[in-house]
């Protein structure tokens, strides 16, 4: 399940919903990661652009990878502005095995950071500034920069 929120992710209700939906399905282990906007660099908020078609393909690839290990993935992310001390990202992995859950959470979050098509902006004095210094070129970048 991939959810896009306009604005902050409502973490408590979302985690409750994910937990309740899977509680009877014999998974044994649930792990979650939640990202909350830190008050730093004088920002009021962070803001996000998402390119949904590529995000969905990337997400489906992870769902498939996890399904091969009998594990289940859910994720939510914000689009637009998320004020300081509110959350922009949450994910959960359910697995019958705790090692799978812990290892896949780490791998999923790191790949999310490196390859999910989401762009971050600092919001300072109402202006939206691309967070270039914290951004990572996606796998395979530079394809169009080679000269003949």
């Amino acid at each position: 399940m991939l959810l896009i929120y306009d604005g902050p992710v409502e973490v408590p209700s979302l985690l409750a919903q994910w937990y309740d939906a899977e509680r009877e399905r014999n998974y044994g282990a649930m792990v979650t990661f939640v990202g909350t906007i830190r008050d730093e660099g004088g920002i009021e908020a962070l803001s996000f652009d998402i390119y949904r078609p590529v995000l969905e393909r990337w997400f489906e690839g992870w769902q498939k990878k996890l399904a091969e290990q009998n594990a289940l993935l859910a994720m939510a992310h914000s689009r637009g502005d998320v004020p300081v001390h509110q959350s922009s990202f949450a994910c959960a992995i359910f697995s019958p095995k705790r090692r799978v859950a812990l290892e896949m959470l780490d791998a999923f979050v790191e790949d999310f950071k490196a390859n999910a098509p989401i762009w971050k902006y600092d919001v300072i004095d109402g202006r939206r500034l691309y967070a270039a210094d914290r951004s990572t070129p996606m796998e395979g970048s530079g394809l169009l920069s080679a000269k003949e």
Partner: protein
């Protein structure tokens, strides 16, 4: 003709080009300095599928997307 769109912070309107491969798209985009500076750091999708091969052929109506450096979460 193919359409090229510029995602996230690149902040350019889509353009339409005559090109039968990504290499030809690359050659044309490299002419525009505002776009050229992004190219070393951009991933590329054709019709929303990421591609790795600059020789990827294009056909009439294909949509090429440029994805600059990301930072979700």
């Amino acid at each position: 003709m193919v359409t090229v769109e510029f995602l996230g912070p690149i902040g350019k309107e889509p353009v339409t080009l005559k090109a039968d491969s990504l290499k030809e798209v690359a050659r044309q985009l490299q002419q525009d300095p505002d776009i050229a500076k992004w190219l070393p750091q951009c991933a590329v999708a054709v019709n929303d599928t990421l591609v790795k091969d600059p020789d990827t052929p294009l056909k009439e109506g294909d949509r090429v997307s440029l994805l600059p450096p990301v930072c979700g979460g």
